[in-house]
């Protein structure tokens, strides 16, 4: 089967002592700009197209949360690129301010485990920048790898998957939407309470309360399960970057790998026309119902008055993949380990919770509630929920669980640090990272799709095909001219 290039972009929550949402954009800008590591400053925005829709049209404008507008009444932050404060790192990652949230976009990866390592490394980047900001300001600064503030504001952890343009919206929507709805059973991050009108003690997904549409191109408001933003970050005639916005930020790296692996299974089946067909009566309702189902039966209403369950849908993807795909080792792991977890959910919860964020969090809170005589209705539980996601390993409750062996461990420290220095895989992130670490003084522009160099006073733009194999020999280029020549030879 064709390998699928993927990346993860995570917007972090930001809590600065004595400051609030009014100052959040200023604080996020300052935090990012003070990142204390090697980087390229700036981003080439020419190929961005957030209002383009996969269905063939372009929105006049994107919706925004009216609650946010009041923070900036009569105030301008300046040019958009100045506000974003982009930094590009030697591993090809992008670190910037997105609507007041420090955001780390991993380098593109082929391997789901490499991607999980880079997602962890991103947490280090954000934490280091937060520490430096705290020292400069003399204030306490906390960053959280989660997706909600418990007051109705959400911020995303998005996945990007490179798929052929020929698949198109209709086929992608039908084939991967069921997976988007049901995978939360295995990869939801868990959340105390509700942020819409229906109350609940605890739910699987951090994002379910904020999903109101089946499909659209919005991301800030009226968010969909299936995002139709058409921003390929590559040749638009050839590629789609499927922009998945309904997932949670995972603290357990294995869950990050599984989250991406499950989507890859669905996409690989879509490519060969063998994805299982499920017709939901109401996908949004199903997403919400699964997230809130305290019985863990995860029933889903289908068309024609029939019904099924989330585990049955997951199994249908696994069976189809085994029957129709030449699976690599990673996707075999996704199937085998996910099947085991679906069994453990009902038969060995103590094993299940070691691998799944929502279960680890729920167990931790249950334990504390029993010892302290608390009820689910206690508002203080949300503070513990938040602290599970603290990016500081010295404070994070997830990190404490990992240290105690209660959840599967993070990647080795050396592997995480290695991720900050560069990439192991022959992706275009290798070229981007080398350009920054070796030839930054020549760089005029950097983005996912291209690099633009200043060579003897003239701009030279080099396209970075996303599906090519970039040779390690790029490391041997002694001058920018040789580097450009080698890049142009990449197929």
């Amino acid at each position: 089967m064709r390998q699928i290039l993927a990346g993860i972009e995570t917007e972090y929550g930001l809590l600065v002592e004595g400051r609030g949402a009014e100052e959040q954009v200023d604080d996020a800008m300052a935090l990012v700009r003070g990142y204390p590591g090697e980087c390229h400053v700036g981003w080439d925005y020419r190929y961005e197209s957030p209002r383009a829709d996969l269905r063939g049209f372009k929105l006049n404008h994107l919706a925004f949360d009216p609650e946010d507008a009041k923070f900036d009444a009569g105030r301008s932050f300046g040019e958009a690129h100045e506000v974003r404060s982009d930094r590009v790192l030697p591993n090809g990652a992008r670190f910037y301010n997105d609507h007041g949230h420090p955001e780390y976009s991993t380098p593109e990866c082929w391997s789901i485990f490499e991607l999980a390592n880079h997602d962890c490394a991103g947490q280090k980047v954000v934490h280091r920048a937060a520490q430096a900001f705290a020292e400069r300001e003399g204030l306490s600064v906390k960053t959280f790898k989660n997706n909600t503030d418990f007051h109705g504001a959400s911020y995303g952890t998005h996945e990007g998957y490179l798929v052929p343009r020929e698949l198109g919206f209709d086929r992608l929507f039908l084939d991967v939407l069921p997976m988007m709805v049901v995978r939360q059973v295995l990869v939801g991050a868990g959340k105390v309470g509700s942020e819409n009108s229906r109350s609940v003690e605890f739910q699987l997904s951090q994002r379910a309360d904020f999903l109101t549409e089946k499909a659209n191109a919005e991301t800030l408001y009226r968010r969909p399960i299936f995002n139709t933003r058409d921003e390929p970050h590559s040749n638009p005639q050839q590629w789609i970057r499927l922009h998945v916005i309904c997932g949670d930020a995972n603290m357990i790296p294995e869950a990050t790998a599984r989250k991406v692996g499950l989507m890859k299974l669905a996409l690989a089946l879509c490519e060969i026309g063998q994805a299982p067909i499920w017709r939901f009566k109401d996908p949004v309702r199903s997403f919400v119902d699964i997230s809130r189902d305290q019985s863990w039966k995860f029933r889903i209403e289908l068309d024609q008055r029939s019904w099924t369950t989330a585990p049955d849908i997951l199994e249908s993807y696994f069976a189809a993949a085994e029957a129709c795909l030449e699976l690599d080792e990673e996707l075999r792991w996704v199937i085998t380990s996910s099947r085991r977890l679906l069994s453990d959910l009902y038969e060995d919860f103590n094993r299940f919770r070691r691998h799944v964020d929502w279960a680890a969090k729920r167990h931790m809170l249950t334990q504390f509630m029993e010892e302290e005589g608390m009820e689910w209705s206690d508002p203080h539980l949300r503070s513990f929920d938040l602290e599970y996601h603290n990016a500081d390993p010295e404070e994070s409750l997830h990190a404490a669980l990992a240290q105690m062996g209660e959840v599967v461990p993070d990647p080795d420290e050396a592997d995480q640090l290695g991720c900050l220095e560069g990439v192991n895989e022959p992706t275009r992130a290798l070229a981007r990272g080398l350009a920054i670490s070796r030839f930054n003084q020549h760089l005029l522009g950097v983005c996912w799709r291209t690099l633009t160099f200043n060579v003897d006073g003239s701009p030279i733009e080099v396209d970075l095909p996303p599906n090519a194999a970039y040779p390690q020999q790029l490391r041997t280029a002694d001058d920018v001219g040789t580097f450009i020549s080698m890049l142009r030879g990449v197929q």
Binding site: G13, L14, L15, A21, Q24, D65, D68, D98, H99, G100, H101, D149, F150, H151, A153, S154, Y155, G156, T219, L220, Y221, P276, I277, W278, S295, W296, K297, R299, E301, L302, Q304, R305, S306, W307, T308, T309, D312, S316, Y346, E347, F349, H363, M364, T366, Q367, E370, E371, P379, H380, R382, S383, F384, L386, E387, E395, L397, A400, L401, M404, E406
Partner: protein, 60 residues
């Protein structure tokens, strides 16, 4: 909820397979959790009103 047929497989494979409501999984088994000092130490340090004060702008 409707009381229609349960599908355990997708439409392309065995669309006629049926079973009843009773086919759902049994109640979850949650054993008494095991504690740990480091976790409790950190939990005791947390400002219980932290989430109440935590207000963010909507992101994407």
């Amino acid at each position: 909820m409707t009381d229609g047929d349960r599908l355990t497989r997708p439409l392309t494979r065995e669309p006629g397979k049926k079973s009843g409501e009773e086919g759902g999984p049994s109640a979850p088994d949650i054993r008494k959790p095991e504690g740990g000092n480091e976790l409790l130490r950190r939990m005791k340090k947390i400002d219980p009103d932290q989430a109440k004060k935590y207000r963010q702008r909507s992101g994407q």
